[in-house]
Structure formats: C-alpha cells, structure tokens
C-alpha cells in the first residue's frame, strides 16, 4: 500500500506536468508500447485449497491472486475487489483462522490451506451472529465493503480473545478487551466509503458482549 494522500497529491502535480510537458508524452508513449507487447502463454500450476469446508482442486496461472481464484474460478463473489492493493480491506477473508487481504496473496501460496469467506460464515436463513448484528445495526449503506468488514470483525474478536495487543492497548501484559477504541483501531484496515463506522462498531460490540 501507499498513502492515499500521496497519490492524490502526485496526481495533481502530474496533471500539471502533462499540461505543459513534451517529455511526459514521450514517457507515456513508451509505457503504452510496453502494455501492448505480446505475452507468452503461461504454464498453469495445480493447487488444492479448502474453501468453506469444501476441497477444490484447481490449475491456475501463477499470477492468480487468492481473491481472483475465489471470485473468478470458484464463483464465490461475496468477497469483493476494492482497491486490489491491500488498502481497503474489501477482500478480507479468513485463512487458517487468520484474516488476510486476499488481493495481496497468490492462490498458489494457499495450497493446502483452509479459507473461510463471507459465504462460509452464514447464509440467508442462518446468518452468522456478526452478519445478523450488521443488519440489526445498519452497519452498511451500499454494502460493498460489508463482506470484508464482517470477516474482519469475526477475526478481530478472536484476536482480542487470543490476547493479541493493538496500537491502542495500554497494558501489553493485561488481557485485551473489546472497547470501542480497540474495535476502531483493529478495524482500521477496512475502509467504508459510506461512513457506516459508528454502526459497524456497535454491531461488533454487540457480538463481543454476547460472546463475553
């Protein structure tokens, strides 16, 4: 990832350069020539991955991310592609019990792993408690970030229970508690552009309370 503020500032300055710069046009032309160069066929590689309790044997181009394997090859489209660079958290899934950004992981890195996506947490009619709490507390507006938010939230509560500290934990030796400040810090890798944060925090707090 790179800071969003830097990207904004850079784009502003680049626009200024393009308006008056001949050299920039030449550089852009070279970049275009590179992207249209013919590509060689790529050998696929096998992997076996368990997703939501079911084993899948796949053959994939090594470039395939776990996110693209889930969405395009296993047709589990609940996991969303937001930034595709680890900045937004929309692609969050749980692998071997740990939440990760599925966009920044090659599918081949997960040969033999066990993956849980939003579809594996719960389905309409039998929702996971975190899914139900997000509905109850209006923890979303457009809903695009929601699968990642929910997968992250489920893992956050497990991390607190396991005693993993955070940036806002005052005492590293004490047990961790799901305070509002802890939940907000631990959820900072999941961006909600609609700004449903306060309701998301309330939904997670309710599940944390019920589980305590």
């Amino acid at each position: 990832m790179i800071d969003a503020m830097d990207v904004v500032a850079l784009h502003l300055s680049r626009r200024g350069v393009i308006a008056g710069g001949v050299a920039t046009v030449a550089i852009t032309g070279a970049a275009d020539a590179r992207t249209v160069a013919p590509t060689q066929p790529v050998a696929t590689m096998p992997l076996s991955v368990e997703v939501n309790g079911r084993r899948h044997d796949l053959r994939l181009d090594p470039r395939t991310t776990l996110l693209d394997a889930l969405r395009d090859h296993l047709h589990l489209t609940g996991t969303k592609k937001g930034c595709d660079h680890g900045q937004c958290g929309a692609c969050t899934v749980i692998v071997n019990g740990h939440r990760i950004n599925s966009c920044l992981s090659l599918a081949l890195q997960h040969d033999g792993d066990s993956v849980t996506t939003i579809e594996g947490l719960g389905q309409p009619g039998h929702l996971h408690p975190m899914q139900a709490a997000f509905v109850k507390h209006d923890g979303f507006q457009c809903g695009y970030c929601t699968p990642g938010q929910i997968c992250s939230a489920v893992a956050v509560l497990a991390e607190i229970k396991a005693g993993i500290p955070s940036h806002v934990s005052t005492d590293l030796a004490a047990p961790m508690h799901p305070t509002n400040a802890e939940l907000r810090e631990r959820m900072s890798g999941n961006i909600c552009r609609c700004g449903a944060y306060s309701n998301i925090a309330e939904a997670i707090a309710e599940v944390a309370g019920a589980a305590a």
Partner: protein, 317 residues
C-alpha cells in the same frame, strides 16, 4: 502483472540456490509488498521462490538470554509473543503501529525488513525514479516530498525507509542472519543492513542476490522503559511522518532511533549520548547535516516534539 514461474523451496540453502540461479528470481514471504509492486510492474520478477515451508516460523530463546525470530514469523505473532511484550515492548509497539491487522497477519519478519519505499514516484512507473529505473532521474527532488527523507539522502534519491519494525530493531541492536546458495551463513548488524542511496539507490540493503534471511536475533533484554511514538496523517493505518523508538533508563540516559526521516532507521551515537540533555539536544545531534526539502523541513521540529512527548510519556509512566 508480468508472467513468472513459482516454486516452493524445501530448505533454506535450497531456496537461496533457487534464487541465485535465476537473475530475475525473488524470494516470496508473505507477499504483501511484493505482490502490490508486481501488480504495478514496479517489481517484475520472472521466478518466485516461496519460503513458507522452510520452518522459519518459530521464536526461540537463545543461551545468551536473547531471542531468535524466524524469518517467516508473522508480524502479528512476533508482536504478540509474551517474551517480546515483556522484554522488548518497543518492538511490539512498533509493529502494532504499522499497517493493518490483515497485513500484519500475512507480512513476515524478513519481508518487513525488505519492504520497499513508499515514495510516490517509485510507485508511479510514468515518473523517473533512480531507485526503480537506475539512471532515469529523481522526480521527488523538486517534486512532492512531504513524506520523504531529511537526512542520509543523495542527489539521486530522497526516498524514506517506510517501516516501523526495523526502527525498533535498530534501537535494540538486532542482528540479521542469512544463508547463501552454498550454505554459508553470515550475521549482519541491523545498523549495517539497510544502505544509504549514494549513487546506487536501487540497492536497498547489503544482501546479495540469492542470500536468504533466515532469522533476526535480539540481544538479551536491555531493561529500561520502552516507547514507540509515531506521528502520521491519520490515527491508524498510515506511514510515519516521524516515529521515535526509545529505550530509556530511570536516570534519563538511553538510546533512540527515528523512523520516517531517512533511507534507513536513523540512530547515531552522539544522539544517544545526548539523551540526558533532552529532546532538543538529541535531535540536534541526530539530524546534524540534514538536508530537508521545503516540503519536509517540518520533520525536524516534529522529531523534537515527538521525542519530547516520548520522554514525557516515560517520566509519567
């Protein structure tokens, strides 16, 4: 992303040999930084050697009282280790001040050390960048440089080393252990691990091609009060403008390293020696000879204030 081939190594020396025999090969740890850069074609490896099966995921106590941290230990696991929280709290604090929960779960100890700069011109392949494309020039010099380095720079590159973990490792005097394709090992003090850009900013560290990090070792506990303070543009999940890692004794002496200000974690003996005189004296020593830009000169003032806050935090603890 450019095409590449992939393999999983089965031994550290085997992994080193696999990378050594391909000029375009790279090791793959967690991949959180490398894959990001590959999508942008800033990094274009032709072969990846995955090190996840090398059993480098343990943290072991050493006979001298220190710890040996396997290269593949995740940032989360390292920060949460009870011995680290108790005896090397500055390391736990630094790791938890960086990235997000998802990234810390995947990112590894060695990969964190090897993460590349977040200079926006390094990321933008339409811009000249001597670190990405040697000899192409530096768009950051005279460009948007608010996040970039104020000391240790050259006329070829003013990129900042972006990480937090390594700043804590620097203050703890950690060592980096490596193995090469022939099985030869070496120990690199963290102070010597990251390079200053000079005329070759494309080379970030002293590692040779095909040399694999196997572990990071921590000397026996220092005692003192450990503090990591990081100032950034938002409260969480952002890179440092300035960070301070310090271990401070009850008499006010101690050691301090700064992040977000230089091409490597920045620590000097003269700055450590000035700790009893307070933050202003320390920063004057640490940043003697600094070359800030118009955009980032504020970092010198911010470093004084951040260290002053860290010292005050220790006094009231």
């Amino acid at each position: 992303m450019r095409a590449f081939t992939y393999e999983r190594a089965t031994s550290p020396a085997g992994a080193a040999a696999a990378v050594a025999q391909h000029a375009g090969a790279k090791f793959l740890g967690g991949g959180t930084n490398l894959l990001d850069l590959m999508k942008l074609e800033v990094e274009t490896p032709t072969h990846l050697v995955d090190i996840q099966d090398l059993k480098l995921d343990q943290i072991e106590a050493m006979p001298d009282g220190g710890l040996r941290i396997g290269a593949f230990v995740s940032n989360t696991a390292l920060s949460a280790d009870r011995r680290v929280r108790r005896d090397y709290a500055v390391l736990t604090r630094a790791i938890q001040a960086g990235a997000s929960g998802q990234l810390r779960n995947k990112a590894t100890t060695a990969g964190n050390l090897l993460q590349r700069t977040r200079c926006p011109y390094f990321y933008d392949t339409n811009q000249p960048c001597n670190k990405r494309t040697p000899g192409s020039g530096c768009a950051a010099i005279g460009g948007y440089s608010r996040q970039l380095a104020v000391i240790g720079t050259s006329d070829r590159c003013i990129a900042t080393y972006p990480g937090d973990m390594a700043v804590a490792l620097r203050v703890l005097d950690a060592n980096v252990e490596t193995v090469d394709a022939k099985g030869a090992t070496r120990v690199i003090p963290i102070a010597d691990f990251h390079r200053l850009p000079g005329t070759t900013p494309e080379i970030d560290t002293v590692l040779r091609h095909g040399e694999l990090i196997t572990a990071v070792t921590l000397p026996k506990p220092l005692g003192g009060t450990h503090v990591y303070r990081k100032v950034r543009d938002r409260a969480s999940y952002a890179f440092a403008l300035v960070s301070v890692a310090a271990v401070i004794a009850p008499d006010g002496s101690g050691r301090v390293a700064f992040g977000g200000v230089a091409p490597k974690p920045w620590r000097t003996p003269t700055a450590d020696a000035a700790m009893p005189q307070g933050a202003a004296a320390v920063v004057d020593q640490a940043f003697a000879g600094a070359h800030p830009t118009h955009d980032n000169a504020f970092k010198l003032t911010l470093a004084k204030r951040t260290l002053a806050a860290a010292i005050a935090q220790v006094r009231t603890a």
